[in-house]
């Protein structure tokens, strides 16, 4: 009976899957507590590029609501995509976050919501703090195989765990 329930649950879950598309590509990003000096919550961008450096999708943009003036300081993200469309940026940005652990995911689509090919990509995490430093981290991966990795902490980022299950 127990088996049946779990089977039923699994079926239920499966049928719900396309609707609540739980991504198989997940990132756990930690913003560390920083106690030295003046502290402002960091400007943060997380995004995917293809292996030729072309923008694929922004997964997170945390900046001040009226903070377009400072967006250029998220330098690579700004250069690659941010500067191209102010309205779009307005639509995707959300408030800066305090220190803590955050879960992000990629639904394997591009900005046009079209599924991407199983190729090589890079994920970028750029964190910039006013009166603080800047760190940019990247990880190359292929959508052809599962992987799991942890990027080492830097001054502006705690451990970053990236996981993909096909």
């Amino acid at each position: 009976m127990k088996k049946n329930t779990s089977l039923a649950c699994a079926l239920l879950f499966c049928s719900a899957l396309p609707v609540y598309a739980e991504s198989n590509f997940s990132i756990s990003l930690t913003l560390p507590e920083i106690t030295s000096g003046q502290y402002h919550r960091p400007y943060t961008a997380v995004w995917i590029e293809n292996n030729k450096g072309k923008h694929v999708k922004t997964l997170a943009l945390w900046s001040e609501p009226k903070g377009q003036k400072w967006l250029k300081d998220i330098r690579r993200w700004w250069r690659k995509i941010g500067r191209t469309d102010a309205q779009w940026v307005d639509g995707i940005s959300s408030a800066t976050r305090p220190a803590g652990e955050y879960s992000l995911s990629w639904d394997l689509t591009n900005e046009q919501h079209i599924k991407v090919n199983n190729e090589d990509y890079k994920v970028f995490i750029e964190v910039v703090r006013e009166h603080g430093g800047r760190n940019i981290l990247k990880h190359s991966f292929s959508l052809n195989s599962d992987f799991k990795t942890t990027l080492k902490p830097t001054a502006e980022t705690g451990p970053i765990k990236i996981k993909f299950n096909k």
Binding site: K66, Q68, L71, K72, R76, R83, T84, A86
Partner: protein, 277 residues
């Protein structure tokens, strides 16, 4: 020669000896406070720029006029600074970027003749700020070794608000010009940058280009990157570090059968920023 003429000649010589020094020895530049800016909507961004000549990259030494600075907007229109100031060691001008895109700030381009000659009994060259044939009429008897040159210089930089565009690159087809292939907003440390040198609108080879990172005052070597344009007019170089750079391009051309000058000297000073990776 009447007194008036002598006075004019003497004063022009005096000015020229200072000016010629500027022309030959000092680098010149327009240095904006920011090269790449972001702002929402029509809010705009104020840019303030130094206009100076100096021997150390970005250490201002001598002012030169910012009144005749021209701004080419992202729509290709010509505008002027909203205000300017001339100080003892530098000039400054302000301009507000209101439209997204790339602006070119440039010193008005002017072609100027300079000549020089020697007089017997002195090895010192005497400079004039007029062409060869005019100098000839003013020279004292027995003067010799008369040479004249036509100097054309461009002093420019690019500043971008939000999304870059290329309208302001448009060459005029006059003298030597630098056409960005790599957009100035996309010059990044450790990445190759490519520019094209054109003369009267056509690709020109053998333009000598020197690129120097700011801060020469605080290092022992200039660390200049020296390149020259190929037959397609192309120069390529890789900025080794993020920071501000001064590019100085020179191109000399003999002027045959020209009564006014023996050669033409083209110079371009371009200020740009190499961004962090």
């Amino acid at each position: 020669m009447n007194t008036k003429q002598i006075f004019a000649l003497a004063s022009s010589m005096l000015v020229v000896s200072l000016l010629a020094h500027n022309v030959s020895a000092h680098d010149r530049w327009i240095l904006p406070n920011e090269f790449n800016t972001s702002a929402e909507g029509e809010k705009g961004v104020w840019i303030t720029s130094d206009v100076t000549a100096g021997n150390q990259v970005f250490v201002f030494d001598k002012p030169f006029g910012s009144e005749d600075i021209e701004i080419i907007t992202p729509q290709g229109k010509k505008e002027y600074p909203s205000s300017s100031y001339r100080g003892g060691r530098k000039s400054v001008f302000d301009y507000q970027l209101t439209q997204p895109g790339t602006y070119r700030f440039q010193k008005e381009v002017s072609a100027k003749y300079y000549s020089k000659y020697k007089v017997k009994g002195s090895e010192k060259e005497i400079h004039t700020r007029v062409d060869k044939s005019a100098t000839k009429t003013m020279m004292p008897k027995g003067a010799y070794d008369l040479q004249g040159a036509l100097y054309i210089s461009r002093v420019e930089t690019y500043v971008t608000l939000n999304k870059p565009n290329k309208e302001a690159f448009k060459p005029t087809g006059e003298y030597l010009e630098l056409l960005p292939i790599t957009h100035p907003a996309d010059i990044i440390e450790n990445n190759e940058t490519e520019f094209k040198m054109i003369f009267k609108g056509n690709a020109v080879k053998d333009v000598e280009v020197s690129i120097v990172r700011e801060g020469t005052l605080y290092r022992n070597q200039i660390e200049a990157i020296e390149v020259s344009s190929n037959s397609q007019g192309i120069i390529k170089f890789t900025p080794p570090k993020a920071g501000r750079y001064l590019l100085h391009a020179t191109y000399e051309k003999a002027l045959n059968d020209n009564k006014l000058a023996d050669k033409m000297v083209n110079a371009i000073f371009l200020t740009f920023e190499a961004g962090l990776e």
